[in-house]
């Protein structure tokens, strides 16, 4: 599924319960992160829950795996990775994630107190993309 399909799907939800139940389901289907990566080294700082993010660099794209011990955060990670996964470093840097979250009606996840978590993860993804362009 790509992000446009997801935006279409989200349009059908009538209340927050349905919407977030779906977010939780996305989290449940998230590509699993191997337990050996769940260490401080891969932890994203500034999150209320524990969040791990691990990049794999291909020649022209970056693939990310992630996980969290909080079930809703895990669902949000699934969406963030749907937005960013397997894109080139340049594409990653040009994405306006706030706009996509607004279209999904999930902008509350980017409010200042929650922002820490989600925005820290997005920042981290952008840093990996920056590192990849410099290495080129």
């Amino acid at each position: 599924m790509d992000i446009d399909e997801l935006i279409d799907n989200f349009a059908f939800f009538e209340n927050w319960e349905e919407k977030y139940q779906y977010v939780i389901d996305l989290g449940r289907k998230l590509e699993p992160l191997e337990a050996c990566y769940k260490t401080d080294e891969w932890k994203v700082k500034g999150c209320q829950s524990q969040v791990w993010l691990v990049p794999t660099f291909a020649p022209n794209s970056i693939h990310f795996c992630g996980d969290s011990d909080a079930i809703l955060v895990k669902g949000i990670i699934a969406i963030v990775l749907m937005i960013y996964n397997d894109k080139s470093a340049e594409e990653i840097k040009s994405i306006d994630v706030a706009k996509i979250f607004a279209k999904l009606g999930l902008e509350e996840n980017l409010t200042p107190s929650r922002r820490n978590g989600m925005m820290s993860m997005v920042e981290k993804i952008r840093q990996y993309a920056d590192g990849a362009t410099r290495a080129d």
Binding site: Y20, Q21, Q48, Q50, A70, I71, L72
Partner: protein, 407 residues
């Protein structure tokens, strides 16, 4: 006792709807809401009597100086301190503790000395002492509490010895609600030749303080938790101790006489209040304290004791919920864990249901870890809390339980 629904009319924010519905505010332990008496007073000062306090000899300046010093007397009365000069205005309780660390502790602690704290301390009463220990070579000693959060007298006394120079202790844990027997602990500390500093941030919200009866040497608390504004707190210190302490920060208003070569410093409390004071905030803080005193601390205590009993009982109805901190002598702070549900997930659903609680380590990370958790949810009471707030919490928790267990 008072009519809580009548009292709630004093708090504009409690009438404020979110998404068309009222909010069950159960986070007073983090910061309390403000009655209009506080808000009106501060506005009135700005509108009719504002200038820089302690400077200028025109009417506005004299009026605000009078109000500011009256605020000091209100804090003195609230704590039952001997004299107004024993009250120093600070930014918050954290700064009050840092002030003692930077002045008294720096002056008096040497390598080999010990600072004794409990396992239940907030970071504000832990991190400044770690820092001072690193600088002075003194040792930070931590005495254990019981698994249920209770104070253990034997552990305190066992860790107190001739090397202990300071006991720094919370009067009420912000995570567990446990109330510590300060009077008895102060006596033991003094017998061992140590001074005692009390972190009264939580205690001050719920119970009557008497620094003379407790015989504590220092006591810190903040305005924003006692129904006053942010940006203001107070430090109580015995006059005979504070008189011998060096200044904390340097600048205006804390001096006696200045030449280009040398400065002599003002007497207490001015010596510790460098720069323009947060005068309107101090006046607002005093108004919050007056509000509590007018209701009667014993009435606030009785109201919250009844609710504490009710909340403890109702929370037990929630499946998979463990209450953390069940000491016999505890105040209206309820930390809990629901097994299998991350507190942050829980907080999300509670917020959707307009129930305001705090989640995380509550600025007491070592304590939360000591109890076997990395994060906890916490509900806490204020003088305006109702049974209906607790009912809303329980209903929302049951909803979260259904929401996250659904497959």
């Amino acid at each position: 006792m008072y009519d809580v629904w009548q009292i709630r009319k004093d708090f504009p924010i409690l009438q404020h709807m979110v998404n068309g519905r009222p909010v069950a505010f159960l986070d007073t332990a983090a910061s309390a809401q403000k009655p209009y008496q506080v808000l009106d007073k501060m506005r009135m000062v700005y509108e009719t009597a504002y200038a820089n306090a302690h400077r200028g000899s025109y009417t506005f300046a004299e009026e605000i100086t009078t109000e500011f010093e009256a605020a000091r007397q209100t804090v003195q009365k609230f704590l039952n301190a001997k004299e107004p000069r024993e009250i120093v205005f600070t930014r918050n309780a954290t700064e009050s503790i840092n002030l003692v660390a930077a002045t008294w502790a720096m002056q008096n602690l040497r390598s080999g000395d010990e600072i004794l704290i409990s396992q239940a301390e907030h970071h504000a009463n832990l991190v400044p002492w770690q820092n001072i220990c690193e600088i002075t070579g003194a040792k930070l000693v931590v005495f254990p509490i019981a698994d249920d959060g209770s104070y253990i007298k034997e552990e305190y006394e066992k860790h107190l010895n001739e090397h202990t120079k300071l006991v720094a202790i919370t009067a009420m844990s912000n995570v567990l609600g446990t109330v510590f027997p300060i009077k008895e602990m102060a006596k033991k500390a003094h017998d061992a030749g140590a001074e005692i500093l009390v972190d009264a941030c939580q205690y001050a919200v719920h119970n009557k303080i008497d620094v003379q009866d407790w015989d504590c040497d220092f006591l810190a608390f903040s305005g924003h938790k006692t129904y006053g504004p942010t940006g203001i707190g107070a430090l109580y210190g015995k006059a005979e101790i504070m008189e011998n302490m060096p200044p904390y920060q340097f600048g205006g208003d804390m001096i006696d006489h200045v030449t280009y070569q040398h400065t002599s410093f003002a007497d207490i409390p001015a010596r510790f209040e460098a720069g323009t004071a947060a005068s309107v905030q101090a006046i607002g803080m005093a108004e919050g304290l007056k509000y509590m005193l007018a209701l009667g601390m014993e009435n606030i205590e009785a109201h919250e004791a009844e609710l504490t009993h009710y909340a403890t009982m109702r929370l037990n109805e929630v499946p998979h919920l463990t209450q953390v901190g069940t000491a016999k002598n505890k105040g209206g702070v309820f930390s809990f864990d629901i097994s299998g549900i991350h507190p942050q997930d829980l907080a999300f659903v509670l917020n959707k249901e307009n129930v305001a609680v705090r989640t995380g380590h509550h600025c007491a990370e070592p304590l939360v870890n000591r109890l076997g958790y990395t994060s906890l949810a916490r509900a806490s009471l204020g003088l305006y809390s109702t049974k209906e707030d607790i009912d809303a919490l329980v209903t929302a928790l049951l909803k979260a339980e259904r929401f996250f267990r659904e497959e």
